[in-house]
Every structure is written in structure tokens, then in C-alpha cells.
Symmetry: C2
Subunit: 216 residues, 2 copies
DNA sequence: GTCTATAGCAGGATAGAC
DNA sequence: GTCTATCCTGCTATAGAC
């Protein structure tokens, strides 16, 4: 059995800071809360990270970005098995990576909440997320989708559709209060499978609007 | 020319509190900031609203809910002009109400940001928003869409699609940092028209997935 | 590297003069 | 209804013992 002493203080701080920041945001969480949760001393945050602000940034650098890579890899691995994946396969893989994927439920929730907070109130971490994760991800996605779309599809249309798809995927992760409230369903494995199907179908058909001339 | 003295102190507090809460969230904004912005005295918040927390709630009660009603009315008025509106008309009206609609750009941004914050970190205001606005809105939307869908479409499928559509609409309002970053476009009137078209097309075609048996 | 103690400040709230 | 002055709590950050 692992107890907290088996993990180094610095790691424990990152771990618990991430959970608390994700749940309630930077300003609503105090250093005292973080060090109590991490069973470390109050002074530890400043000793290891200089400041609360920098701890927040390190959470993104050391925990958020690597996890985003995991999600991306899962997405790529699913697609690598198919040859010439079409819109269907691409969105199936995407919905799967984000709703089921490599992370457990709690981890994914934390991951998306942190991202969402940066989108609503961007801080220094926003640039990190945008440059290191979102931009390459959108580029990769566009590259994969291009062959499925008419040759004259312009870049903006493609980006708007990418954003819309991302919006739906994120929403079903971070806004569970809304989803549970209005569907009456909990996020058990049956409901998650249903969500994957829904997101894949909704995004795929939304993308199909790019195939029709009158909307361009 | 109107100066700040023409508006009662209580109203000025609500006005500026709303802007600041929307921009940076409850915890990041201090009572001192609000009273300075409203050109009122530091003690005014407690005099009129008892506490900062209650001021936040009153912002939703007195400003947010009425504005949500305005958006809803705009949506209904557009639809009232058409007879037997189909999926196309419904989503056209919806995208229009949320992206152009009755509010000016700044107001709509504030409106959606406040809502978004409640979705990410629900407080007492969440129940208000869900009960008084979101629930009736989803019901109304379902009632309008039902005639356009197969008879055996189950309620959950419909709700999931409503949520997805809302996700896209909200996203293009509150996540301008992302949209501007990846499209390179500012929210001028040309781009907004394009967004309306995009959202209407994406949502409508996403909904069309409900028409196909294999996704149910 | 961990701890206690505390500096130093900003926050929400209130009492009481006007 | 408005204002000043102030209380008091809770915060981040740091100094210095161990």
C-alpha cells in the first residue's frame, strides 16, 4: 500500500494543486489548502515553486501538457489501425479519445476543467496550451480532414468546424452539472458509450455541412 | 450627456459588478474594485446588498435573467414570422439570437461569460439559471423540434443534441481568445455573419444525425 | 528539506458621524 | 444614503531554527 510519503513532496504538491485548481480555480484556492491536501508544510509551495502563481503554471507544464499528449497519442493509435480513415473514423477516434480514452474519469475531468478555465479566463498558461497543444492538434486534424473535403474548402471554414467539434467534446466533459441535470443520467460506462456515439455523429454530420456549397 | 449621478447607486453597483464578475470571476474581483468602478463608497455594497456574495446573486436575478428573456424573445419573434419552421429555420433563428440578436456585442459577451462561469464552477446562481432559463428554453426547443424528427426519437437523444447546439453557440461567444487565435479574425460584423451561418449549418446538420437510425 | 513563527498586506464587513 | 475609519480575518510570502 502506497502512502503519501512514498511520493516526493514536490510531486504531491503538483498533484493536489492540480485537483484543487481544476475544481475551483486559481483565486478560490489558497496555498494553505494545497499544502494541507498534500500533507506538506505551508512553506513548501514557496520553497519548491517560488510562488502560488508559478505553481499554477508548473501544473500546466508538468502535468497538463503531458496528459494532453497522452490523449493525442490515443487518438493517433486508434486511427493508425485503419487505412484511409474518413470523417466517420476521425470523429469516432476523437470522441473516444476524449470521453473514454487513456485517462480515467477523474483525471479527464480535471484535465478538461483546467483547460476550460484558461479559455474563460486566460492567464499565462493559455499561451502554453495554445502553442504546445491546441495549435498542433488543429493542424493535425486539418491535415487529416482535408482529403475528405472539397478541394476549395477554405482554411477558416475548417478551423470553425474544428472549434465547434472541440466545443462539443469539451462541453460534455466540463459541464456535467448541465448534462446530468437535463438528461438525468450519471456518467457511467453505458452513458459514456452513448455520449461517444452522440458526439461522433453530431460532429461528423456538422462537418458534412462543409460538403455543401450553399454554406460556404 | 448622462453622467454617473443620473443612475442610482444601486444600479451602478449592479452594472459594474456584472462586468467585473463576467470578466474575471467572483473571487478575482474585490468589493473595493466594484465600488471604485461604480464611483460609489466602499460601504455601499454592504448597505445595498448585505454581502459580496449576495451582490453576485442579485446580478443574476436583476440583470442576467431579464437579458436571457430578451434573447429568448428575439428567437421567438424571428420564428413567429414563419409558418411551420423546420430545423433550418429554428437553428437559423437560434444562431441569430445568440450571435447578433437584441444585445450589443459587449452585453452579449458579458452575458455568456457569466453563464459559462456558472457552468464551470456552479454556485447558488446555477440553480437560478437552470430553473428559470435553461430548463424552459430546452423544453421550448424540444417542442419545436419534435415535429421535425422521427416519432420514436427518445428524449435523451434530443436533450444531448440541444446541449451540443448550446455548447457551440456559447463557445463562439465566450472563447473569443481561441477563435481569434486560430482564425485570425476579429468579431466584426462580417465575421459575425459568417459565424451565424456556420453555427446554424453545423448544428442543423449535427441534428440531422437524429434522422438516421444507426445513430440511435 | 522541513518546520514554526511572523511579517506585511489585502480582503469583507461594520460602527457611527454626517 | 453617503462617508470615514477601523476591525478582523485570512492571505502570500519569508526569515530563521532544526
Amino acid at each position: 500500500m502506497q502512502n503519501h510519503k512514498d511520493i516526493k513532496t514536490k510531486e504531491r504538491l503538483l498533484l493536489h494543486a492540480e485537483i484543487l485548481f481544476a475544481q475551483r480555480g486559481f483565486h478560490a484556492v489558497s496555498v494553505r489548502e494545497i499544502t494541507t491536501a498534500a500533507k506538506s508544510n505551508l512553506a513548501a509551495v514557496n520553497y519548491y515553486f517560488d510562488s502560488k502563481k508559478n505553481l499554477y503554471l508548473e501544473v500546466f507544464r508538468q502535468r497538463w501538457v503531458p496528459r494532453a499528449r497522452q490523449i493525442k497519442e490515443s487518438f493517433e493509435n486508434v486511427l493508425a489501425e485503419k487505412e484511409n480513415p474518413g470523417i466517420n473514423e476521425i470523429f469516432g477516434a476523437l470522441a473516444h479519445a476524449f470521453i473514454e480514452g487513456p485517462l480515467d474519469d477523474e483525471e479527464r475531468k480535471i484535465h478538461v476543467q483546467l483547460m476550460q478555465r484558461e479559455i474563460v479566463s486566460p492567464t499565462a498558461a493559455f499561451e502554453l496550451v495554445a502553442n504546445e497543444v491546441t495549435a498542433p492538434f488543429f493542424e493535425d486534424l486539418s491535415r487529416r480532414l482535408r482529403p475528405c473535403l472539397p478541394k476549395d474548402t477554405d482554411e477558416t471554414s475548417l478551423v470553425l468546424s474544428n472549434i465547434s467539434m472541440l466545443a462539443v467534446v469539451l462541453y460534455f466533459n466540463f459541464s456535467r452539472a448541465v448534462v446530468t441535470r437535463f438528461t438525468g443520467k450519471e456518467y457511467d460506462s453505458g452513458f459514456k458509450m452513448r455520449l461517444i456515439q452522440h458526439i461522433a455523429a453530431f460532429s461528423r454530420d456538422g462537418f458534412n455541412s462543409l460538403l455543401r456549397k450553399e454554406n460556404l
